[in-house]
């Protein structure tokens, strides 16, 4: 199940890379797609196991840090070196599931994942 998922992902990526190359799409789109991949593969995959959805965490960060720049900085700080002190999640959650493990992603990958995270849940343009 996981293997086939991964294979289809790899195939999908290969096809997409080809398409991009063929159609000479802008590299920005490529980066965003790559960020989305990392985000889906890394963050979402692991977080699926948790009872608290990623968007709840996001709104906690929004509540405390307000702006895009500050939210992203705080996320970067936490994800690279998660500590109990920095964590915004409830203590029960952390006690039950343990502190989030230090991310294995490289700085650039992490930044792209966070960008995707922000783009996914940001409120800009969504309020009616």
């Amino acid at each position: 199940m996981v293997g086939s998922g991964r294979r289809s992902l790899v195939v999908g990526r290969w096809i997409r890379a080809l398409t991009v190359g063929a159609l000479l799409l802008g590299s920005a789109q490529l980066l965003a797609d790559r960020g989305k991949n990392i985000y889906e593969r890394n963050c979402v995959a692991c977080h699926r196991k948790l009872p608290v959805a990623l968007d709840k965490f996001f709104f906690n960060y929004l509540l405390k840090y307000s702006s895009e720049r500050r939210v992203k900085e705080a996320l970067q700080r936490f994800l690279k070196h998660p500590t109990k002190k920095k964590a915004l999640a409830s203590e029960e959650l952390i006690n039950q599931y343990g502190l989030m493990p230090k991310t294995e992603l490289s700085d650039t990958e992490l930044r792209r994942a966070i960008d995707t995270y922000w783009e996914t849940y940001k409120v800009f343009g969504k309020i009616k």
Binding site: F59, L63, Y65, R70, I127
Partner: protein, 396 residues
């Protein structure tokens, strides 16, 4: 330098100038104080209005924040911004980026302030503790009805105007108070001259008529010389007397204008003054075209010429020369005297102004010249070089 604008400088004229200057300065200061007061009053009124509106706006912002909180919690289900027809609002994040707005003009918001009016709308800014939806600043806006503004301006104009009027009245009273001693002194001087003049007439005339009656042929040379000196003195006094009479009485006597033979008059006056010139060994040289006419009061024409000649003698050097030229439309009196500065020329027509205090006189001569020139629209042009002498042109 023309006499047409150097008007006969009278006391009331200089007085008016002092008055104007003082009042100008005074009004300026009064206005400054009023503007300062008005500014403070305006600010106070504005603050008062904003304080009143603030209570209302705070209520609105609380309501709005409650709405934002709910929206924050249930954002996965509801995404409708809390609205109220009573006010418009906007939310901004910690980097002052606008998240959402229903404001009329969201660009001009000043997030560093608490409450202010743009003239059209009043905006209140509340800083949140918990940034619902990432909003750090909540801006609530209502229309500014401008009632306070109109009322405040009405008050400023009304009371400010009244105060200004009061200030100016006080200023006028002050000026009159300050000018009283100066007026008094000048009136005293004028009265003194008037009184002296009255007392001069009879004795001077007595001296002059009696000198004329003396048969000099039967006298020795020494006595003749002495009598001549007495005559010179008497004529000088007589001249001063004429000037003073003119000053005191000229506005009471109607001018008797007629065609005056200026050639004749000028020659006659030169003859009269020759004897005065002799005492300083001054030579007269004339170039008088016969038959030059001018429509003028003869007495005034005589005063004009007399004063020019008397000045030419008075300010001449010993053994100097006076050149008089008469042409239709122009009289020139030129001397070889001490001359004067360019700056002094514009002052010469002022009464009691003597540009050389070492020489006697009251400084009224040119003042009379200017008055007469003004009355008959004569143009007076003075050209002077220090130590070289002066040329006075009278043109008509």
């Amino acid at each position: 330098m023309s006499a047409s604008n150097a008007t006969a400088t009278s006391i009331s004229h200089s007085e008016r100038r002092t008055l104007q200057r003082f009042l100008g300065l005074y009004a300026f200061l009064a206005l400054l104080i009023l503007i300062l007061g008005s500014t403070i009053y305006y600010k106070l009124q504005k603050d008062l209005m904003l304080q009143t509106k603030r209570l209302e706006l705070e209520e609105y912002s609380k309501e709005l924040i409650d709405g934002l909180k709910l929206l924050h919690i249930y954002f996965d289900r509801y995404r409708t911004y809390p609205r109220n027809p009573l006010y418009r609002s906007a939310i901004y994040d910690a980097d002052s980026v606008r998240i959402f707005s229903t404001l009329d003009d969201p660009e001009g918001v000043q997030l560093d302030k608490v409450i202010y009016t743009t003239g059209r709308v009043i905006q209140y800014i509340h800083v949140l503790d918990s940034y619902y939806l990432g909003a750090k600043y909540v801006v609530v806006e209502i229309d500014d009805d401008r009632k306070w503004f109109v009322q405040t301006w009405k008050n400023i104009l009304l009371y400010g105007g009244a105060l200004l009027a009061l200030f100016l009245t006080a200023g006028l009273v002050l000026v009159r108070l300050f000018l009283a001693p100066m007026r008094h002194a000048i009136r005293l001087l004028d009265r003194f001259i008037k009184d002296t003049t009255h007392e001069l007439n009879t004795p001077v005339n007595a001296i002059l008529t009696n000198i004329e009656m003396i048969d000099t042929e039967h006298l020795d040379e020494k006595t003749t010389k002495k009598i001549k000196r007495i005559e010179i003195g008497a004529r000088t006094i007589s001249n001063i007397y004429q000037d003073l009479t003119y000053l005191i009485l000229h506005h009471k006597i109607a001018s008797q204008n007629r065609e005056v033979d200026m050639s004749h008059l000028v020659q006659e006056r030169i003859d009269y003054f020759k004897i005065l010139g002799e005492s300083k060994k001054i030579e007269f040289e004339t170039d008088i075209q016969p038959g030059v006419k001018l429509y003028i009061d003869e007495g005034k024409a005589a005063r004009l010429v007399d004063n020019l000649l008397s000045n030419a003698i008075k300010y001449n050097r010993r053994g100097g020369e006076i050149f008089v030229r008469l042409r239709p439309g122009e009289l020139l009196v030129q001397d070889t005297g001490i001359g004067m500065d360019q700056s002094a020329i514009k002052d010469v027509f002022k009464r009691y102004k003597r540009f050389d205090t070492s020489v006697g006189g009251f400084g009224i001569g040119l003042n009379i010249v200017a008055m007469i020139a003004k009355e008959y629209n004569l143009h007076i042009d003075i050209r002077s070089k220090k130590e070289k002498g002066s040329e006075v042109y009278v043109r008509w």
